[in-house]
């Protein structure tokens, strides 16, 4: 077994093949077979992820040349600690969402048929992006991800969902075009597309800068960074809960992941201090604006969606905190940034699932609809609460650990203004989350409409929330995983 892990062929392509096979099968199979196929597929993908993890532990970072064509001609997949972290996260969250959806979608029989293939495509696209080391391949991956995400949002065919998905689609398309134009410039000037190879030859030129700027703009749009964020809240709020969870938890992170690969891996020398500060400022603006808007929302899911805008803002602080700061500050920020992504992914997925359950249980989508929820104390409430703890960055959650690292980094690098952003952002998130909590303690005049959600729904939300919480206690391992992928770092 051990020799197979070190010697045997890498299992990386299976992480994409399996979800694609799943989608093909579930498109052809009848409705009755779909759950069976989904279960098997999820099991197999989880197994594959696990084996990939074991392989990585044995042999460390490695590349996989598709079709045995070496770069620059071919495309290769790249596995390092960061990609692995995201693969694991994706597998974990998506399988929980699958579990949740399996039960939740019983209310939407028509949507259900097409939900599974779209979910599988979405999964495949995410894995493509985490593994991809090729600029144009990333474009195709982004489109695949964007289309399947748009489809998932539009699935119910309701007015709101359609408007949101159209908005989402147009944002995604615009973002991809900006990316594509950047790729065109880079290819024209460099003659190759592989990120790791480009890192060696990337020169400081007008075209290089222009390409980076364009790609950054596209990615910022796709990750709903501050002034370009308006498509995100309606899309995430109007989708079905498992879809919202997936989108907010994972899909929104893809663009950020690529952004980091782009700047810190491909062209680290091109990131000037002021550019990094600008990115950080956008992040800070997102933190404040998203938080403020979340405080103003009256719909539960909109509140959660705006919180995503704010939380994604924290991620952008990674750039100013790793640019031109000392080695130690860079390490802390790197680890903190990715830990923030991890904990937010878990917490936000949990929160959307829980919010969906709460809406289902209370029969109303607005905040006052929660009156009296505390009386029944559904597990979803607990899930929501625990996820909220992580989002606020209160100990002992993963969010706290992440913010602690980011704070330390800011302190160490003397960029005290980010400390203010982090702390006041936490305070803002506390405001909107307690705004929800508070509703649950108000006694309701009509308690009879309460409807206990199925146990699976509750447990899936709770499981993710507990994971987000446990991340605070068990963050040493992910931290190590992240630290191995520090660009230009030791490991």
């Amino acid at each position: 077994m051990l020799s197979w892990l070190t010697e045997g062929p890498s299992l990386l392509p299976w992480l994409v093949i399996l979800p694609l096979l799943w989608s093909i099968l579930s498109l052809t199979a009848g409705q009755r077979l779909q759950p069976l196929i989904a279960t098997t597929a999820v099991g197999l993908i989880l197994l594959a992820t696990l084996l990939v993890l074991l392989q990585w532990l044995q042999r460390g970072d490695h590349f996989y040349s598709l079709g045995d064509w070496a770069v620059p001609l071919g495309i290769r997949l790249r596995l390092d600690g960061l990609a692995l972290l995201l693969l694991l996260l994706t597998s974990g969250i998506t399988s929980v969402c699958t579990l949740h959806a399996g039960r939740y979608l019983q209310e939407y029989p028509r949507a259900k048929t097409y939900f599974w293939p779209l979910l599988a495509f979405c999964w495949a696209a995410m894995n493509v992006i985490w593994l991809s080391a090729d600029l144009f391949n990333l474009y195709v991956g982004l489109e695949l991800l964007g289309f399947s995400a748009v489809g998932l949002v539009a699935l119910t065919g309701e007015k709101k969902a359609l408007a949101a998905s159209l908005r989402y689609l147009y944002a995604a398309l615009l973002g991809s075009l900006a990316w594509l134009l950047g790729v065109a410039l880079i290819y024209g000037h460099q003659g190759q597309l592989d990120i790791s190879s480009l890192a060696l030859t990337f020169t400081d030129s007008i075209s290089g800068q222009a390409a980076l700027a364009l790609m950054t703009l596209g990615l910022l749009l796709k990750m709903a960074a501050f002034p370009l964020h308006s498509w995100l809240p309606p899309a995430h709020a109007s989708a079905l809960p498992p879809v919202s969870a997936l989108l907010s938890g994972l899909v929104a992170k893809a663009a950020f992941y690529i952004l980091v690969r782009l700047w810190l891996e491909m062209a680290p020398d091109n990131l000037t201090f002021s550019a990094a500060q600008l990115l950080g400022a956008l992040g800070a603006a997102a933190v404040f604006w998203g938080g403020w808007m979340a405080c103003r929302q009256q719909q539960l899911k909109m509140l959660v969606a705006y919180s995503t805008v704010a939380q994604l803002g924290y991620l952008l602080l990674l750039f100013p905190l790793t640019t031109g700061t000392g080695e130690e500050a860079t390490r802390l920020a790197w680890e903190g940034g990715w830990l923030q992504l991890t904990s937010h992914a878990l917490a936000k997925a949990a929160m959307f699932l829980a919010a969906g359950n709460l809406v289902l249980a209370m029969g109303r989508p607005d905040l006052p609809g929660l009156h009296g929820a505390g009386r029944y104390l559904p597990f979803s409430l607990l899930g929501f609460g625990l996820a909220g703890v992580s989002l606020m960055g209160l100990p002992p959650s993963g969010g706290f650990m992440a913010k602690w690292l980011l704070l330390q980094s800011a302190l160490l690098s003397g960029q005290w203004w980010w400390i203010l952003v982090l702390l006041s952002g936490s305070a803002l998130s506390a405001v909107y989350i307690f705004k929800v909590y508070q509703q649950c303690y108000v006694e309701s005049d009509n308690p009879d409409r309460f409807r206990q959600p199925a146990l699976v729904l509750d447990l899936s939300a709770l499981a993710l929330a507990l994971l987000a919480l446990a991340l605070g206690i068990l963050s040493a391992w992910p931290q190590w995983l992240i630290s191995t992928a520090l660009p230009g770092g030791a490991a």
């Binding site: 539009a154 007015k159 908005r167 689609l169 594509l180 134009l181 065109a184 410039l185 000037h189 003659g191």
Partner: protein, 118 residues
């Protein structure tokens, strides 16, 4: 290889025009057209620029072929959504964009601003 330069520049111009149109237009199909123009511009830049440097190059051509197919899919997907949206609401723009016009229009109750009769 100078034959390629005008097309590269034309591609750049297309990108700019398309982008401006994409931002400024409110009608969803018009925005879709703008998107397609921008896409064509990107494709031109991709092929033209690469071939300026290296002569006829199959790789960007293959990439653009992929890009064209993706663009068609995008167009079709958007049209599906637009039609469904139109059937549900009678609108050809997104509600957020139309709102201010609704308030200006004579007959906001009709809710079909974009399609107001002549």
């Amino acid at each position: 290889m100078n034959t390629f330069l005008p097309y590269t520049l034309a591609g750049g111009a297309l990108v700019i025009l398309g982008l401006t149109g994409f931002i400024l237009h409110r009608h969803l199909i018009r925005r879709l057209l703008a998107f397609n123009l921008t896409g064509s511009g990107c494709f031109l830049v991709m092929t033209g620029l690469a071939q300026q440097g290296q002569g006829v190059d199959a790789v960007p051509q293959a990439l653009v072929l992929t890009g064209i197919v993706v663009a068609v899919s995008a167009t079709a997907l958007a049209l599906v959504l637009i039609r469904r949206w139109y059937h549900l609401t009678g609108l050809t723009g997104l509600p957020e964009d139309i709102e201010p016009e609704l308030q200006q229009g004579d007959n906001p109750a009709e809710g079909k601003t974009q399609g107001a009769p002549h």
